[in-house]
Amino acid sequence: MNFDPRYSGRNFSSVGTRPIRPDGVDKVTGRARYGADFNMAGQLVGRVLRSPHAHAKITKIDTSKAEKLPGVKAVITAADLPDLTDGDASMYDVLDNCMARGKVLYDGHAVAAVAAVDARTARQALKLIEVYYEILPHVTDVDEAMKHAAPLINDAIFTEGLEEKPVKPSNVTKRSQFGHGDVHQGFGHADFIVERSFKTEQTHQGYIEPHACVANVSSDGTADLWVCTQGHFVYRQHCAQLLGLEASKLRVTSSEIGGGFGGKTHVWAEPVALALSRKAGRPVKLVMTREEVFRASGPTSATSIDVKIGARKDGTITAAEATLRYTSGPYAGMWAELGAMTAFACYKLDNVKTVGYEVLVNRPKTAAYRAPSAPMAAFAVESAVDELAKEIGIDPVEFRIKNAAQEGTRASYGPVYGPIGIGPTLEAAKHHPHMKAPLAKNQGRGMACGFWFNFGGQTCTDLNIGMDGTVSLAVGTVDVGGSRASLSLVAAEELGIDYSHVKAIVADTSSLGYNDMTDGSRGTFSSSMATISAARNAIKVLRDRAAQMWDIPVDDVIWENGQAIAKGEKYGNLSPLSLKEIAAQSGKTGGPIAGHSELVADGAGVSFATHICDIEVDPETGATRVLRYTVIQDAGKAVHPTYVEGQYQGGAAQGIGWALNEEYIYGKDGRLQNAGFLDYRIPVCSDLPMIDTQILEIPNPNHPYGVRGVGETSIVPPLAAIANAVSNAVGVRMTHIPMSPPRILAALEAEG
């Protein structure tokens, strides 16, 4: 990479302003096209038949009646998706998850699919497919699944990461461990020790747009896929591999996306739609129902976590230990590992040890959900930290400040931190007026901290300058919440032109090089880096063209404030050439002017947040109300501060929902009981107060503008912040998330 990504302090003219987003008008007028808003001529309707059982062997599938129904154009089963994964275990899991092969592993697992002329015919066809099951015992609870007598979900799984290779298969796919020092010794030095066990239930990202795609496979091996996704390049790779297509012949266009939060990082329906289209020889539109989204997409892990923290009387933590068990659905995952890495990341610890267990259960395959795995670990740790502060008799903010990680601290997950924001967010919290506001009876205030890694990744961007001097910016990271506005600001900043002259779009997979997904809070971080690089490449061309127009050496041309300037006394009579003037002449100076960039945007700075909330509890019913909520988080540099605030507020709201009401509820039969927005209760407008935000800007040394990812960290602290507030309001320590009214009331009654 010939591009220097290091931070250089500068004054910004565009970055940091708050213009209207380029895709805004389309979105307020109903013109923006999402996954289900696209149609092709001759398109069929696809629908998926799903298992009603949590765990069963498929003994036979008879599709003959469905095939004979008039209007049915294709029926597929796993036989139509042969295994082309070539030993790639994780892709095999993806394939098996798209269409069950021999065994169904959860309620909702796809077993067959149809394409028909209309929805009614497709629905009827599903009823005509006969699937014979041999029901197997199932397990959905994380602790139950770890027991020796638990039903085995995959008898080829032997726990990885143990000192000795196990002789028996297990539902635990992996054990992972992090830490340093000697916790045994550390606890020996502690005057106070808090030890507790916690549980969190499974939640869903809850994006309002169900998965939707239109697939069109031609007999010559070319194909098109229109889809709502967080990463169309990744979808292309996965679909091409599973279908045996050449990646370059599969053009994937990302529609506008109606929310993802990690849930649209994984293929489910898309390979099925492509296989249906291939078999039917016609385009197929496949839209999941809301019920299917809950039963058969990728919710987060349910967890069971033990935490032990010890501290001296003076408030110094001497040791910290956690064991974390995370469900990953019926396939191997790395979710407990992430929990184990993030659990104590906020603190400076000499002795720390975390152990994670990945646990198979008969639930949908776990997918990422905003800072995946961190909120549950933070719930356990930050609850214990608060309790420990109380036992010692020290203010919880002071206690955290005293033990906060700093530049040079060895993180609990291994490396040594560079400049980080945990201390500043805590100091800001300490001095925030929210901390001093009065509280009434049955009201309590809680606070908690959160950490997320952030990452960057492969990124490719094109910047084209039109002959009228306006700029089109083609990026490959899907815009999930306003990044086209941020990236336009960055292009304007770098070129020195006005924001209104830049138009950013998300290009399809045939128009741009590979891009990783918009995940890991990387959208604006990575694509802004690539945009800066592309703009600098374009500036090289602009300087060259100006040099030609002036007929002087290019080395004598500099770029400043959106114009070329001839540097040196001898050029005193040359007035600067604006980007517009150079662009107008481009046809005569060498053709179109463009800047391209491809890079790996590594070095995303880690991110920290501190949240404060006030909760009121009705002691007679266990009902809670969020009275006030404040988010303080480091953004590195807020490119478009309004959308940064939006990320803070949105993550906090999701965390509040998780803390209070959201959960997957399985019956004894292993079937999901609440596959809809009626009983999977995400916060509604009247549930929440305004969510105040405070943006701190501690520049990331590894980004030219100092940008850090901001998307995920805001979901990490709320679970614990609310649990701590409930504890302070009514004196009960809630150890089971969500803190639904029945759970709070039961805890209050138990307390007497």
Binding site: M1, S90, E160, G161, L162, E163, K174, R175, S176, Q177, F178, G179, Q205, G260, F261, G262, G263, T265, M334, E337, L338, M341, A368, Y369, R370, A371, P372, A411, Y413, G414, P415, V416, Y417, G418, W452, F453, N454, F455, G456, G457, Q458, D519, G520, S521, R522, V600, D602, G603, A604, N702, G711, E712
Partner: protein, 81 residues
């Protein structure tokens, strides 16, 4: 020669070591030599390992140089939402 710290589980795969010395100038060479010296690590490298150099995490930049005396720490490759 750089000293490389392995996270807990990776240490187990390297025969119980949590620090190893490797003669490598960049991440690419580091991975190659780790695979040679500790064959148990190869499946882990295939699945993806991130490298922290002085606290900055690199997932994909295999050309990244490993400065002498830098703190090199290997981590699992991360997923995000």
């Amino acid at each position: 020669m750089v000293e490389v710290t392995l996270w807990g589980s990776l240490g187990t795969a390297a025969g119980g070591k949590n620090k190893v010395d490797v003669e490598a100038k960049d991440i690419r060479e580091l991975f190659r030599k780790l695979g040679e010296q500790y064959p148990g690590l190869e499946p882990w490298i295939d699945r993806g390992i991130a490298v922290s150099i002085d606290g900055v995490i690199y997932r994909d930049t295999w050309s990244k140089e490993l400065p002498q005396g830098a703190e090199i720490f290997l981590l699992p490759r991360l997923a995000g939402g």
